[in-house]
């Protein structure tokens, strides 16, 4: 499954298109950036409530396939700029983290 297929699963909107052809191989949920840095698997769809510029930097470091900001929360303007520069897809969903992650995981299985 590619990042491009995710918005349809999670009532999502595309904030930053980025490399949306990238393959997604799993889902990861965490809001503590320190944890994500060390533990998020590469190529995962990272579902979080963190929509700031540091989240984008952490996504780059952990090499996640995309960032999905849940609960309908906003993505900061400087995060959008950084994600565009780094070609990192950023999506938004009104769904809670678990629900969004569940739907993506179901599609992956």
């Amino acid at each position: 499954m590619t990042v491009k297929e995710i918005p349809a699963l999670i009532e999502g909107t595309v904030v930053v298109k980025g490399d949306d052809q990238r393959e997604v191989t799993g889902v990861y949920c965490c809001d503590m950036l320190s944890q994500v840095m060390g533990r998020a698997p590469a190529d995962c769809a990272w579902v979080t409530i963190m929509g700031g510029v540091n989240a984008v930097a952490v996504s780059a470091l952990a090499d996640t396939a995309c960032i999905i900001v849940a609960e309908g929360l906003d993505v900061d303007a400087d995060a959008v700029v950084k994600a565009r520069e780094q070609d990192i897809p950023v999506l938004r969903t009104p769904l809670p983290i678990f629900e969004a992650a569940k739907r993506i995981d179901k599609a992956l299985s």
Binding site: M32, L33, S34, M37, G38, M50, G52, N54, A57, V58, A60, L61
Partner: protein, 242 residues
């Protein structure tokens, strides 16, 4: 009594998100240009640029307070201020041992530059300073006190890395007597959800990562005329009550 116009939360170029113009001499110069009387440099999880800022402030009327913005294990930011550079550095080196072994990636986060008092880069910090240290927000105040320091939760009105976002409240058990807001005008609104802010001394600092964001002389403390040292200033902060 005299007024000390303050900015107690300024980042240097050692913080990866700190602009490379935030050198020790530039910070001191800008603070003096702005007309501030007392500043603190508080980089993320480190105080290693404090000696250089101290030296740059030497001989000027600017009172420099060495500090560190700790990121706790809950990813809460806490401003920690110390009575002298030696105490700040000992605290910083203790804290360094509690950081996760994640190396900085300059392309993702920025450069973490250690400078001397002549604004020459003398090294870089290899560990990423933006992680959470293995210290909880409950433990931190007592640890800071062991080094003679004083601490308060940073930017509680911010939507990330704020104690109010992480915990929903400022717990009494932490013993904080002060809290920092990015914007004091938000206090009335915050008091409706967090009445515990009512018994904290509220300060507003810039959290400047760029020179132009260092505070103008708007926020001040009324202090005794004979308050001239960082140690006296820390004692003053410790005694402040609403």
């Amino acid at each position: 009594m005299k007024r000390l116009y303050y900015d107690l939360h300024i980042h240097s170029c050692l913080s990866p998100c700190g602009d490379m113009d935030m050198t020790p001499c530039n910070i001191v110069g800008m603070a003096r240009l702005n007309g501030l009387d007392v500043i603190a440099v508080c980089d993320h999880n480190t105080a290693e640029n404090c000696p250089a800022v101290q030296a740059a402030a030497e001989g000027t009327h600017l009172l420099f307070i060495p500090g560190c913005e700790v990121c706790t294990e809950e990813e809460i930011h806490v401003v920690c201020l110390f009575p002298d550079v030696d105490a700040a550095l000992r605290f910083s080196r203790m804290l360094h041992e509690k950081l996760p072994p994640i190396c900085n990636d300059e392309r993702a986060f920025g450069r973490q530059s250690i400078f001397d008092s002549q604004d020459q880069e003398i090294g870089t910090e290899p560990l990423l300073l933006l992680t959470g240290a293995a210290l909880s927000v409950d433990e931190l105040p007592a640890v800071v006190a062991q080094y003679g320091g004083f601490c308060f939760p940073a930017h509680v009105d911010r939507d990330s890395f704020s104690i109010l976002v992480s915990l929903g409240v400022i717990p009494d058990s932490c013993g904080f007597t002060m809290a920092e807001l990015r914007d004091k005008s938000r206090l009335p609104q915050l008091l409706t959800t967090n009445p515990e802010l009512g018994d904290k001394v509220i300060v507003q600092n810039s959290d400047a990562h760029y020179l132009q964001d260092i505070a103008e002389p708007e926020q001040f403390f009324e202090v005794p005329d004979d308050l001239t040292t960082a140690g006296q200033f820390i004692a003053f902060l410790k005694g402040l009550r609403v």
